[in-house]
Symmetry: D2
Subunit: 393 residues, 4 copies
Amino acid sequence: MSVTSPLALFGIDSLLSEEERAISSVVREYVEASISPQIADWFEKGDIPARSLAKDFGSLGLLGMHLEGYGCAGTSAVAYGLAAMELEAGDSGIRSLVSVQGSLAMYAIHEFGSEEQKNEWLPGMAAGDIVGCFGLTEADFGSNPQGMRTNAKRDGSDANSDWILNGSKMWITNGSVADVAVVWAQTDDGIRGFIVPTATPGFTASVIHKKMSLRASITSELVFENLRLPAHSMLPGVRGLKGPLSCLNEARFGIAFGTLGAARDCLQTAIDYSINRVQFDRPIAGYQLTQMKLADMTLELGKGMLLALHIGRLKDSIGVTPEQISLGKLNNAREALHIARECRSILGGNGITLEYPIIRHMNNLESVFTYEGTNEMHTLVIGQALTGLPAFR
Amino acid sequence: MSVTSPLALFGIDSLLSEEERAISSVVREYVEASISPQIADWFEKGDIPARSLAKDFGSLGLLGMHLEGYGCAGTSAVAYGLAAMELEAGDSGIRSLVSVQGSLAMYAIHEFGSEEQKNEWLPGMAAGDIVGCFGLTEADFGSNPQGMRTNAKRDGSDANSDWILNGSKMWITNGSVADVAVVWAQTDDGIRGFIVPTATPGFTASVIHKKMSLRASITSELVFENLRLPAHSMLPGVRGLKGPLSCLNEARFGIAFGTLGAARDCLQTAIDYSINRVQFDRPIAGYQLTQMKLADMTLELGKGMLLALHIGRLKDSIGVTPEQISLGKLNNAREALHIARECRSILGGNGITLEYPIIRHMNNLESVFTYEGTNEMHTLVIGQALTGLPAFR
Amino acid sequence: MSVTSPLALFGIDSLLSEEERAISSVVREYVEASISPQIADWFEKGDIPARSLAKDFGSLGLLGMHLEGYGCAGTSAVAYGLAAMELEAGDSGIRSLVSVQGSLAMYAIHEFGSEEQKNEWLPGMAAGDIVGCFGLTEADFGSNPQGMRTNAKRDGSDANSDWILNGSKMWITNGSVADVAVVWAQTDDGIRGFIVPTATPGFTASVIHKKMSLRASITSELVFENLRLPAHSMLPGVRGLKGPLSCLNEARFGIAFGTLGAARDCLQTAIDYSINRVQFDRPIAGYQLTQMKLADMTLELGKGMLLALHIGRLKDSIGVTPEQISLGKLNNAREALHIARECRSILGGNGITLEYPIIRHMNNLESVFTYEGTNEMHTLVIGQALTGLPAFR
Amino acid sequence: MSVTSPLALFGIDSLLSEEERAISSVVREYVEASISPQIADWFEKGDIPARSLAKDFGSLGLLGMHLEGYGCAGTSAVAYGLAAMELEAGDSGIRSLVSVQGSLAMYAIHEFGSEEQKNEWLPGMAAGDIVGCFGLTEADFGSNPQGMRTNAKRDGSDANSDWILNGSKMWITNGSVADVAVVWAQTDDGIRGFIVPTATPGFTASVIHKKMSLRASITSELVFENLRLPAHSMLPGVRGLKGPLSCLNEARFGIAFGTLGAARDCLQTAIDYSINRVQFDRPIAGYQLTQMKLADMTLELGKGMLLALHIGRLKDSIGVTPEQISLGKLNNAREALHIARECRSILGGNGITLEYPIIRHMNNLESVFTYEGTNEMHTLVIGQALTGLPAFR
């Protein structure tokens, strides 16, 4: 009885360089040693040791790993994607911590910050000493961030005047443990980004409880009440929504890979379970109805992997378009969720407990399916590219 | 802007008698007043006030409500189904408590018990003073109960000898709070049922933790170690697997209705949310992509309701076959789960918290989808009826 | 090896009156004797003996059978639906002939015609001596008939002046064989209906060839060039789109039943085939993958039947709403198409020839899925009923 | 209004070499000039000019193009796949003609033939002067060719004795126009292949009529009655089912690419149609419900393309396994069929005529979905690779 793993059946390894395989292995080993044994407990409790995890990820060089300089590793986009995949094989919440730090907060500063801002913040963030978060979404403005109500006003008439920040942000990963927040706000000059130390008076972060998803992740609401920021807190390099949207593109790229990690972990768990679970004197893996599920999921996992790698290779060579990232995020979050649901059914009663990772992944992927652009938003992005006609409204 | 609820759109009310509508209303009001305000907390904590709930359900006449005599209400099957539906609109775990008490434990005693057994147990169980559970499934024998290892041996050679019970049962709803368990075991005479007071020495029940589903329900493992039972503990009226299977048929009947309650609650929540949630200056209920979800779910809910009522009317008139109950359980558990998942996506980020009932229902329905016969088992039951060919092995 | 048909498994017969079963039987016998033996040839050639079929249907009392008086049978709506189902078990094209005659052309005259018009046309149409067609759809106005360009102008200034009709109609069933067309046209007074004898100068009908669907049905384009009609040709009883739309409602009602006939014929064919087709020494009906297809299709067929009967019972009692008919048309056309596709796959290579009815039904149902309101239009009708928000534009 | 084609949106071109793009272009131009203008008529009539097409394909170097020597072009596997894709964008029947000639008949002789056999047959076949067919499937042995009944017996006792062939083969593409058939038969020595000139006495081929699929392809039944073959007619290089199965692998490889051509043609047609088709004053391409269809189909087409190219690159480098080819055939035939069906619905009434290519592709793909291994067979091949457990019986 010789058995092949889904991605080995696809021959995916032949598409990776030795360095890429090495990075994958290192992260996978860390996850297996340090995350997997504890993740069910963290999830059950709804809490994680965020700061010590951040230190670990810093030591592994995973924070802002695809950025150049300022203490960042400067790897390829594919390597970054593979690391996200291994992290999310552990837990989507754990991967989210790294994504928000590297692809959102650090990326925003790296792309749009001044030299001073980069030097001040990035090395500490890359090391995991400083934890960041990213404030874009508001309670009433999810798919449509353009409508945000958070605003920053000059307390004075010249470019050296302080900014006064008011408003609130919702669904902010890392919010309550962060040292620094990159916050987007309406100004007289359009939407601008601000680097906001969370110790600043007027800043409050409250944890969102009663989540069933991403329980091993800290999700917060941020409130800014007449929060005073020095003039140089603003990110000088971008104005308008294209700033935060380009950060989201980075994060979505990581999600296109990351979700496959969760899916792979579910599928491998279900295959192993089905081989060992005997009913009517046969392993359930030997029944046609089970094999159909496994074969279909293997196909979706493999195609998702080819898609993620394709997008990654484009990003590392001729460049990737936002629409191509939409293809990756839409497909891989959706298929990962489908895989998790189907795998859960294979485990029967055992599939509802945290003893197995599947129902945890399944619940996590509900968030991932929604955040960084819903299914609907990415569908309409692709629809517009194909037809030239916007259908968002 | 005139709005119709999904079941009103189908004109379902016209299919119900006044009495049936009255029973629905009473249960719905109880659920809205006494379950819904607290269910999220119970679910979060993973605990319910089982005994006081049982008393409430007893007072409402819901325990064994479709049974005749011995303090039971003796309603029609449809009325019982409608009550299950309203309870599961509250929570599948709450409905499970009632199903296990009435359709499994009480039904087994009512159908297969001696007059003495019925008089001893049923009135107290109908009143909710005595809580029952039902021990059939074992850890290694889910879909194939025939293979059970729990056994009862006579301690002596005649019909008055005590029974010695050994073995264990898994996934037992109400197990840790029950006063009495109906336990099925191998004997020299085939599989037989036993009434087991849980205070009997040798009986232990341990709660299964780390569930993500049916957290507002007590699920236990039962262990019997040389548990001694008097000879008259055995249910005299049935031998072989057809005993417990006929109980399961009762429970599945309730599930065919019950799951629609969870689905209805999800769908109504999603409709209301989508009407109130504005993005891009329009309620998301006004977008085609949302309307397609709502229309498709309405269709499935309505068809599921027609199916459940059809089966119920058959049960109350010319009789219903096990295959017809399989149609109802297979379809309605599956479609309810699909509806819950789709509704969750409509709520976006808000869909992952227990502030809304949807993700709770979604997780609950994973259990309901699996228990009382998986999708696969019911599929093959129907397949055999259509083709004459068994394909279970 | 005892075998149950899908609808018998559901216990559908118990829902029908003796008279309804009798009508079903008569039509089924006619179809089996007179349609089924020849339908593959008619389909292959793309032609049917429309006039002799119309005479047969007239003799059987099927034309306008649910209308009262004027030579019509005056049956219940359910009986009419069951007849449509049996006809479409033969072929969707054959059922379309009857639908167009009875539910569209005759219904329009019956509902909106003057006493003179009814007496002139209905008895001959009910007998099948006069064939009718119904002109609403235009090439550029399918889902949006309001935009139609066909127009009728008075040739004079008073109510006795002739009408001059110009324009064209597309996808008109029976068009080239019809003796009379009910044509809807723009007038100064809104959209009005006209009774147009096809022998009138200025009327041309040309058959649409190269169809792959409804090949056993005559589909035509009608062109009106300065076609002169006497003043009394106009249907006096309705103005505006609600006239033709109420006719469409009648036809859709018939489709909700009819499509189930095609589906039933596919499914029964596939079950029989799979029981007789042996691969690897076992009938393919004995494999899990086949049984899953059969069980899922049985569920959809049965639920469709419950839905159609529910709508029919409403129509025969308290009345049915257009939205309820949308539920029936949307669901049953869609599911019938799915069933036909899945059944085709069960027949493997044999499934692609006209030796078996399945691929013919499959192609026919593509038309039925589209006509009388696309999937999208009915989805948005239901969406509006649920949300109060129109999303058509 | 800028518009991107589905494969351009994916950036597929960047994955192809200049030579590969050149081969694609040549075939595409031939198809557009010589196939597309006539294919609807050929399909309607159910006939093609097979011999002159074979000559054309020979001139273009497409017959056995991936084979080395003997007049064959010796291209890469990917180039062969891309050519199949362009041919099937024309019609699956046309691509089948080329597949059967090159991947089945020529490949069998090339791999398993003697030097004399290769020299005798391959150059003429490569040129399109000689048309070949491939006889494996029998009426009762589709998925299970091992059970074939066609047999060859020595007329004598030594290796120079003639063979006497008896039996029949079903669903044989090119059968009635072929000059030569490669026929697989049971012998005392296991299953062996034979080169059978169709002019040999005892050989009859009859065309299978009443097909709704692959009407632009000649499908035949072959019958062998005491057909006498010289001893050297047997293919010396292989014995057992692995001979024909390795040919099927070649053909399936071509199908993994080819089906995407049909899908691409459907999708591009539907996009163009939807941009030009106005309803309610807006192109239907501008509605959310249409965009969702287009986006989802684009995803499937693109992923199918990545999968086909991945398999092709493996075949051209480290080698491809039969299971990997199963992944490609299963997925791409299935998704192409789904795409064709969905595209048909976008065209509404216009989607049912041969004026547009979609319903033709849709019907063709029903055959392609079934032949060269059904969905079920490939599912179980993959299932066995994942679990080590065969579930075919």
